[in-house]
Amino acid sequence: MKEIIELKLNEKFPDSILEKIEFRDELTLIVDKNKIVEICQYLRDDPELLFDMLIDLCGVDRAKRNDRFEVLYNLLSLKNKFRLRLKVRIDEKDCKVDSITSIYPTANWHERETYDMFGIIFNNHPDLRRMYMPEEFEYYPLRKDFPLLGIPGSLPLPKK
């Protein structure tokens, strides 16, 4: 299965597969962030691959690396019983990536959560609001430079 995926993706999207990682029988592909929508569309609709389920989508902050953020996509093909992980790398200065809500509707809330926690903006998202934190909150709590105890005064309490 791994070979087929690689072959097909390389054929369809040359130069978009930046890196391939294999660890404990799990396949991870680092892909071009501008191509993520097309790649997901292809993985879902190709009759041989049929990655019809998005298990999870989340963000990672690598703090000291140049491309600071990562967004992970865990896909599952129910027909082939195969799991695939995609990663895109995002620079802090251009903290944006295209939304895949049009392909996997379940990505809607996952992308909102990632936006809430990391401040990564998902282009073309239908309703990009904060998920957990109050709307008026100005920070992104899962970033490495955010203190664990928060910023005093950033979350107002009701008066006693």
């Binding site: 934190m133 203190p147 664990l148 928060g150 910023i151 309490l157």
Partner: protein, 162 residues
Amino acid sequence: MGLESAFGNSFITTTIDAVVSWARKNSLWPMPLGISCCAIEMMSAADPRFDIARFGSEVMRFSPRQSDLLIVAGTVTYKMAKVVRKIYDQMPEPKWVISMGACASSGGMFRSYSVVQGIDLFVPVDVYVAGCPPRPENLLNAILAIREKVEKSSVLDFEKKQ
């Protein structure tokens, strides 16, 4: 066959405070604000084994307008704090608050940006219950403490507040 016949032709003297406090302390209607696992222990305090009804608090009201004892049972986040305060404000005077468990009393194990480090930062608390979660007996003990407090209170205490 009412109370009148029990006393016959005699009469009793008492104070308004004693009668009102006696009535209040024997029917504390709790507003169960169960927002975490403490709520499970609160529920079992109401079951036949622990039987909160022995102290007249079995009528769990899910409307703040009908209750006079707020039991905050669980972790209060900053986002939830507004809701807790709103529920407290909707309760009619006189009212009392039990902060149940480590999370409500001090933030507990959640020393984090999202959890309020003790609900006494935004509502006045009468009794704190220790434990994570507290045993039902512990909650009953808190209700006994509230009863004692109510018994000592005067009708005028609440007049002053408003």
